[in-house]
């Protein structure tokens, strides 16, 4: 009956092959765990709801950010710099300068507007058409419309503008400064807020889901204690809890996706109105399969890790010395 001769010790007990036992145990434990959830519908639903709501928040935030950036990409057009060049630069020189500027990392594209084109456009748009016909010469210079890279922050935009203004060929750089600065200041705040929100939500899902599973398992501490006392290995004791955690995670994750989809459905109308404004047929960005997978993955993962820790913690407590 020596402990180190385990196979020998277990001999009186006729067992089937180890793999089929392992698989069989998992199948029966999985269905037993699910059965337990179904038998306590209120308690299970509460826990699944907690997980779902907790996961829905960051998922919703993520979708919002994605939709916002899909839209805000098109805002950039409002942020072009108009670089009015010196009046004595000719068209070729202006084009050469444009190509040069276009090579900057913080610039997406440069469009050249010749002074003639500019005047035509101005006449058409300003309502001064007839009056300007009286002009003896074109007072407008060649202009480079510089579109900065969307990666720019408020700071780097200011820098870019300064550098453009300091070019010897530049007369004046015009831009709707207020809008640009506001836009970037707000973008900065939003991205910082999203970062803080993400950290808070990340902490929330770990703390909330972990704690919920911990409390649920603590309620079943008797099961841990008794099965340990009659010789179950840690793996055996943990198994039903891991399956419970798995089911909680899976069902919670699915419900989270459902909740967010519902919320998105409610946002459908205003978002598509906005999309229309850009004439971009751009639809509302929804979950793609990868995201659905990762939400469920996170849910199941947290369920498993949470129950693993909680069960192990309880087992430690009742271990001799």
């Amino acid at each position: 009956m020596a402990v180190n001769r385990h196979a020998d010790a277990a001999a009186p007990v006729r067992s089937s092959g180890p793999v089929s036992i392992w698989a069989g145990r998992h199948v029966s434990t999985a269905s037993a765990s699910l059965g337990r959830l179904v038998r306590q519908p209120f308690a299970s639903l509460m826990i699944i709801l907690v997980i779902a709501v907790t996961l829905a928040l960051p998922a919703a935030l993520n979708l919002m950010v994605k939709n916002a950036s899909a839209i805000s990409g098109q805002w950039e057009s409002a942020l072009d710099f108009s670089v009015f060049l010196d009046r004595d630069l000719n068209l070729d020189e202006a084009a050469a300068l444009g190509r040069l500027i276009e090579q900057r990392a913080d610039v997406v594209s440069v469009t050249l507007i010749s002074s003639d084109d500019a005047l035509e456009e101005f006449k058409a748009q300003s309502g001064f058409g007839a009056a300007l016909d009286q002009l003896s010469h074109n007072p407008l210079p060649h202009t480079l419309v510089v579109r900065p890279s969307p990666a720019n922050t408020g700071q780097s935009m200011l820098l870019l503008r300064e550098e453009l203004a300091n070019l010897p060929e530049t007369d004046v750089v015009q831009v709707d400064t207020d809008w640009v600065q506001r836009f970037h200041a707000i973008l900065d705040i939003v991205s910082q807020a999203i970062l803080i929100g993400a950290v808070l939500l990340g902490a929330a899902i770990i703390v909330i889901i972990g704690n919920t599973i911990r409390l649920d398992i603590q309620n079943r501490r008797e099961e841990i204690e008794v099965t340990k006392l009659i010789g179950a290995s840690n793996a055996f004791v943990r198994r039903p809890f891991l399956w419970t955690g798995f089911w909680y995670g899976l069902l919670g994750g699915l419900l989270a996706i459902g909740l967010v989809s519902l919320g998105l459905h409610l946002l459908d109308a205003p978002i598509s109105r906005l999309a229309n404004l850009y004439q971009s047929g751009a639809d509302v960005v929804r979950f793609d399969l990868r995201e659905i997978g990762s939400i469920i993955g996170v849910a199941v993962g947290l369920g498993l890790v949470g129950s693993w820790f909680a069960a192990t913690r309880h087992m430690r407590k009742i271990e001799p010395r």
């Binding site: 007990v13 067992s15 010789g231």
Partner: protein, 237 residues
């Protein structure tokens, strides 16, 4: 089978439950542990089942020093011992049959064989007709018998029972002791803590009396030790 050498158990509060206990139980013996409330009977049984460890001395079970059983080997160690707990330790979220089957499931016994053994064990304690019930709906004595059935279902070589008849009437107590006796005849070593001195006397087994954590009296020293030699062919299995 069991050898205790100068075993001391002192609890964190300073309470000394066992003091310098020396004891030897041979293979195939059936031994009763008596002593007043708080004498250290349960503590002794727990040390043997490795539910707790001694603060001093050695506990050697089947040649294996419990001190040297590492944490991850404890489950395998415990699986070799059948244990009846003083407070039953049943699980109230499953049926009586599932409770009794639990150690068999842990040992990886096939479903067919396990259910056969569960029914045999419940039969022996007279609870076969209640196998589908939840232990919560059983009387205290019935719960105690479920605990006994669970301990014998695995057919261990060593069976440890802590006050297995505390909630049973005299007839049933005798019945349970007869079950234990039959086990003993098949070579199982038994160590039973009990207060029922009348019953113990009736059985005429060796009796170890504890007093405040010390060995006060060992009937083996007086009478002939009652050892049922395990038969060469293990009939019981």
């Amino acid at each position: 089978m069991i050898r205790l050498e100068n075993v001391t158990k002192r609890f964190p509060g300073g309470q000394e439950a066992l003091s310098g206990l020396d004891l030897a139980v041979e293979k195939g013996e059936m031994v009763f542990v008596t002593g007043h409330s708080g004498a250290g009977k349960s503590t002794l049984l727990k040390l043997i089942a490795l539910i707790d460890r001694p603060t001093g001395g050695q506990v050697i079970v089947d040649g294996q020093n419990t001190r040297r059983v590492k944490r991850r080997r404890i489950p395998a160690y415990r699986r070799q011992i059948g244990m009846v707990f003083q407070d039953h330790k049943l699980l109230y979220d499953r049926s009586v049959a599932d409770n009794v089957a639990l150690p068999l499931v842990i040992a990886g016994v096939g479903t067919r064989e396990a259910s056969r053994r569960v029914r045999a064990a419940l039969e022996q304690v007279g609870l076969l007709q209640k196998e589908k019930r939840n232990p919560e709906t059983l009387s205290a004595g019935e719960q105690q018998r479920v605990g006994i059935a669970r301990a014998i279902a695995t057919r261990p070589k060593l069976l440890i029972a802590d006050e297995p008849t505390g909630n049973l009437d005299p007839d049933l107590s005798l019945e349970v002791m007869r079950v234990f006796r039959r086990f003993n005849e098949f070579g199982v070593t038994l160590l039973i803590a009990s207060h029922d001195i009348a019953l113990i006397d009736k059985l005429g087994c060796r009796r170890i009396h504890l007093e405040d954590g010390r060995l006060q009296n060992d009937s083996a020293a007086e009478e002939e030790v009652l050892v049922v030699r395990p038969s060469t062919e293990d009939r019981w299995r």
